[in-house]
């Protein structure tokens, strides 16, 4: 399943880059994160609970930053393991300056395996869309907070 989109942030590119590359800030942007461990600057692990069915789907997700060209491009690989599902995701983003703000173009290729995948896109697509929307809104929030810290007035 491929998802992609674009987003404008009212913050300089350096600020957006900083947020996107700070695992602790990203953890706050991801919904359902129950714990987050940073192993090194390229590897971190999150325990997440995805709202799927009764009780949610708990998954342990390993992130690896596989490529980066500061301040414009980064690529991440994520592999998640949960009961009834295995998730593989390759995601990347491009940042470009847009006036005083930043334009982000992003895409993600998500492969879900196991019984959860068998539910088909009918179920998964809306969940992915909801998650993406939630991440982007939270990201916006994080960028605003970072921007406020960098420029208090």
């Amino acid at each position: 399943m491929k998802v992609e989109g674009e987003r404008e942030f009212r913050a300089p590119r350096a600020t957006v880059w900083e947020v996107l590359n700070d695992p602790s800030r990203m953890a706050k942007a991801m919904p359902g994160v129950e714990s987050f461990d940073v192993q090194d600057d390229k590897h971190w692990r999150a325990h997440v609970k995805i709202p799927l069915g009764l009780g949610g789907l708990r998954m342990s997700v390993d992130f690896e930053k596989t490529e980066q060209r500061e301040p414009e491009f980064a690529k991440l690989h994520a592999k998640g393991n949960g009961v009834g599902a295995i998730m593989n995701m390759d995601t990347s983003f491009h940042l470009s300056e847009a006036g005083s703000g930043t334009h982000m173009k992003w895409e993600a290729e998500v492969h879900v395996l196991g019984p959860v995948a068998s539910m088909g896109q009918r179920v998964l697509q809306p969940i992915v869309n909801q998650q993406v929307s939630s991440v982007l809104n939270a990201l916006d929030q994080q960028v605003q907070e970072a921007s406020a810290l960098s420029h208090p007035n």
């Binding site: 295995i86 492969h111 395996l113 196991g114 019984p115 995948a117 068998s118 539910m119 009918r122």
Partner: protein
């Protein structure tokens, strides 16, 4: 509408008219009382003290190497009794034997995945716990590390250079391949006025759904080294042949017990991997254990029907509409493991020409493995796919050449006076009247008013379409056909066993070698016995179910391949004839007359013409069993008779791929009328008729039940049921939400007709008829083609596919004038 056709002159039998004897009567089914009162005993009803429940850990990957399996966390959970992994299985068992020649012969298949997984849902480990729910929870604690591999989900790519190889030992994805060439195809092309070429047709993956999922309760007797499996395996004889060598024990160490089975359409033939895992666990844990398959697992990883591609079809046709033959390249997708395969590579040849007289046929057949669920002989096994092809050819040729589908069929059908008819590959069609069946089917749907109905539908904005499906249900296998695939296999012929005895109180007791799953064997066997012994079916006690320890059985015993009415009842008839002879002999000794003077009637053995001189059956039973002093020493009577019925088969000619592969051929001619909404592709079957000819019907109501059930499964396969995989090998239709099996409300108003063309080759004139649903799949395809005017190339056409069809091009077909 029912007729009896007894060559050469058809005799019309009025519905409801009493027949002579019990055969042909709709007597109440013996099984129904316990089933309707909820007193049937299915394997899951059986429990044991302190038994454990099994749950299988299944692969989320379609194709991956197994790097590690860690069961330690599961074993720490209170209430977990133990686990089983692929590494243990590899040590404790041998791979199941393969039926194919190389490369298929080199494929290794174990009870659990060893080293690699080859389809999503493949069992990787098993855990046993004190409750079913706990076992399921514990399974989630088993950690399996995989290294994903590229999956192969399209059988057409299986032979490509660089395609993923499923079985490294085989070095190829090919299970079996070969060419079947009968007649003179090039000569037929030379003789033809036109040649029709069809690029590609696809028979979808589906499976006939049983109400009851698979399973077993297994006990291990450490003293005798014997396993008892209370289960729903539908072919225990063959199951034991697979399991015993794998477990390194003799066949008699495996006891299969069944009573009631909630349907088995071939998907309960290949249960041996699960049963071996359960046997290992029962022995390892010294505890009775039970495995009850979850429905999603049944859909995902039990057994599908074979998916098949037909490519580069060529059909030479004469100007007068005579079809001379066809050529096709068939690619069969058997999923991850061959198991019952490659038998499907020959089973289709039982009906090589379908219902038609064409004599020049060439089939280039290849069967391959893919990263999908394994298949097993699904109802209509392998013939259904091939007959769909022959019917598609007829309707595509008719469409392209502007021929009437009814007339082109009647012109090319095997004629009533040509039976017994030898097909190009040596099969003998025993009897039938296809054109008569078609006439009845046409009449039932009011074919003469078709144009009027078409106009009416048009006025309502709907497209009306009409279609025919003509199929044969070939019954009673000659297992010799397996030698055509692998000459090393020492299988040929067929056999079935029954015992009939008269007990001390005059009870008539029958045991069967077969394994009934709802077909009413107890009832029909009693009808046959009652007719021979001159009593009521109520006086005949047919033991329900099957127990390999106590029911007499043979190498090919079981319930499969449309044969009980021939082999099962043939054995019952043989055993009862023997018992009747012994009863007459015993009575003749008592009366001091010739056995020929004794008749069996009204529950008595009596001297013909002298009703006063009569011995009730009870007296005969008592004399032999309990009061036998003074009987002549040479009186050769036991009143306990066993008979093995063997159909009259020869071994086929392996070189020519030629011979009689089955004994009987029941006919199904279905007609269907659909109305399609051109805006949405949604369609409705507005009229439907099924006409069946299975020779002498022992119990017409049971026959009609089979026709209804098979038709429902066919309509499901034609309209919605498709096991669809994504590119990663995920099954996207693993449950009843996405895999829609027809409900009663989905069924069209169905009209039934029948004729009876008695088989000249069977003991009772009957034919097997349980697998005749294929006609329905084609009738719907043909009706959709008629309605949309577009070439229908898939067997399953849900609404979205019909919508795509309406918006597609003409389809890839080409006509060459010669």
């Amino acid at each position: 509408m029912t007729e009896t056709v007894a060559p050469p002159r058809p005799v019309v039998v009025e519905e409801g008219k009493p027949t002579k004897g019990w055969i042909g009567e709709n007597v109440p089914r013996k099984e129904d009382k316990r089933l309707l009162q909820g007193e049937g005993v299915f394997f899951d009803d059986i429990k044991r003290h302190e038994m454990g429940y099994v749950h299988f850990v299944r692969s989320p990957y379609a194709h991956a190497r197994i790097k590690s399996v860690d069961v330690s966390k599961a074993l720490e959970l209170q209430g977990v009794y133990g686990t089983l992994t692929g590494d243990e299985v590899a040590i404790l068992t041998d791979p199941f034997f393969e039926l194919s020649v190389p490369p298929g012969a080199h494929m290794k298949d174990y009870a659990l995945a060893v080293g690699k997984v080859r389809h999503a849902g493949e069992p990787v480990a098993a855990v046993v716990a004190s409750t079913r729910e706990l076992a399921r929870d514990a399974a989630e604690l088993i950690e399996v590390e995989y290294e994903p591999l590229e999956p192969l989900v399209d059988a057409r790519r299986a032979q490509d250079e660089g395609a993923p190889i499923l079985h490294d030992e085989a070095g190829s994805n090919i299970v079996w391949d070969g060419t079947f060439d009968w007649g003179d195809f090039e000569g037929a092309v030379a003789e033809a006025d036109q040649v029709v070429r069809i690029k590609e047709l696809h028979f979808d993956r589906f499976s006939s759904t049983p109400l009851e999922c698979s399973g077993c309760l297994v006990e291990y007797n450490r003293g005798t080294g014997q396993w008892t499996m209370y289960c729903n395996h539908q072919m225990p004889g063959v199951g034991a042949i697979w399991m015993a060598p794998a477990l390194r024990v003799g066949l008699d160490k495996l006891r299969f017990v069944t009573q009631d089975i909630g349907g088995a359409f071939g998907n309960k033939i290949c249960l041996h991997p699960y049963f071996v895992a359960c046997c290992l666990l029962a022995r390892k844990l010294n505890r009775a254990i039970q495995w009850t398959e979850w429905r999603t697992d049944q859909h995902t990883a039990n057994a599908h029907g074979n998916e098949r591609w037909f490519q580069d079809v060529e059909v030479p046709v004469k100007a007068d509409g005579t079809l001379l033959g066809f050529k096709v390249k068939a690619i069969d997708d058997c999923g991850a493991f061959p198991r019952y395969e490659p038998l499907g590579c020959i089973i289709w040849a039982q009906v090589t020409p379908g219902c038609y007289r064409w004599r020049n046929i060439r089939v280039d057949f290849t069967q391959v493995t893919t990263n999908k669920s394994p298949v097993s002989p699904n109802r209509g096994y392998s013939r259904m796919q091939h007959l769909w092809l022959t019917e598609r050819i007829i309707d595509i040729v008719a469409k392209e050449l502007g021929l009437d589908p009814v007339e082109v069929r009647k012109k090319n059908y095997v004629k009533h006076d040509e039976f017994p008819y030898e097909t190009p590959n040596g099969c003998i069609y025993d009897s039938g009247d296809y054109a008569r069946c078609l006439d009845i089917a046409l009449e039932l749907v009011g074919y003469d008013r078709l144009e009027e109905r078409r106009q009416d539908a048009k006025s309502r904005g709907k497209l009306l379409g009409f279609g025919i499906g003509s199929t044969l249900d070939s019954g009673t296998n000659n297992f010799g056909q397996s030698m055509i695939l692998n000459p090393e296999l020492q299988f040929s012929g067929n056999n079935e066993v029954a015992t009939v005895k008269l007990d001390i109180f005059g009870e008539i007791v029958v045991t069967l070698g077969t394994v009934p799953q709802g077909q009413g064997h107890e009832t029909t066997a009693a009808q046959v016995v009652a007719d021979i012994l001159g009593c009521s079916p109520d006086d005949v006690n047919v033991r329900p179910g099957h127990d390999t320890y106590w029911n007499s059985h043979a190498g090919f015993s079981g319930t499969y391949a449309s044969q009980f009415a021939v082999t099962g009842l043939g054995a019952v008839k043989g055993a009862t004839d023997m018992l009747a002879g012994e009863m007459r002999k015993l009575a003749s000794v008592v009366f001091g007359c010739s056995p020929d003077d004794i008749e069996l009637t009204e529950g008595q053995a009596r001297i013909k013409g002298n009703p006063e001189a009569a011995l009730p059956f009870m007296a005969l039973g008592a004399i032999l069993n309990a009061n036998n002093a003074g009987l002549p020493e040479d009186l050769d009577v036991t009143l306990n008779c066993r008979y093995v019925y063997r159909p009259p088969f020869e071994k086929p000619d392996v070189e020519r791929k030629y011979g009689n592969l089955t004994l009987t051929y029941a006919t199904q001619i279905h007609t269907c009328i659909v109305e399609v909404d051109p805006e949405t592709g949604v369609y409705e079957i507005v009229d439907y008729a099924a006409v069946d000819d299975c020779g002498k019907r022992i119990h017409p109501q049971i026959v009609e039940g089979q026709v209804h059930g098979a038709t429902a499964q066919a309509l499901g396969a034609a309209t919605h049921e498709s096991f669809t995989y994504d590119g990663d090998g995920n099954l996207l239709t693993p449950n009843f939400y996405d895999y829609h099996v027809p409900h009663a409300l989905d069924m069209p108003p169905m009209k039934n007709g029948s004729i009876e063309s008695e088989s000249p080759f069977t003991p009772l004139g009957a034919k097997g008829m349980g697998e005749g649903g294929g006609a329905g799949i084609h009738a719907v395809c043909a009706a959709l083609q008629d309605a949309t005017g577009k070439l229908v190339t898939s067997s399953c056409n849900p609404y979205h596919r019909v919508w795509q069809l309406l918006h597609s091009g003409a389809g890839e077909v080409e006509v060459t004038n010669r």
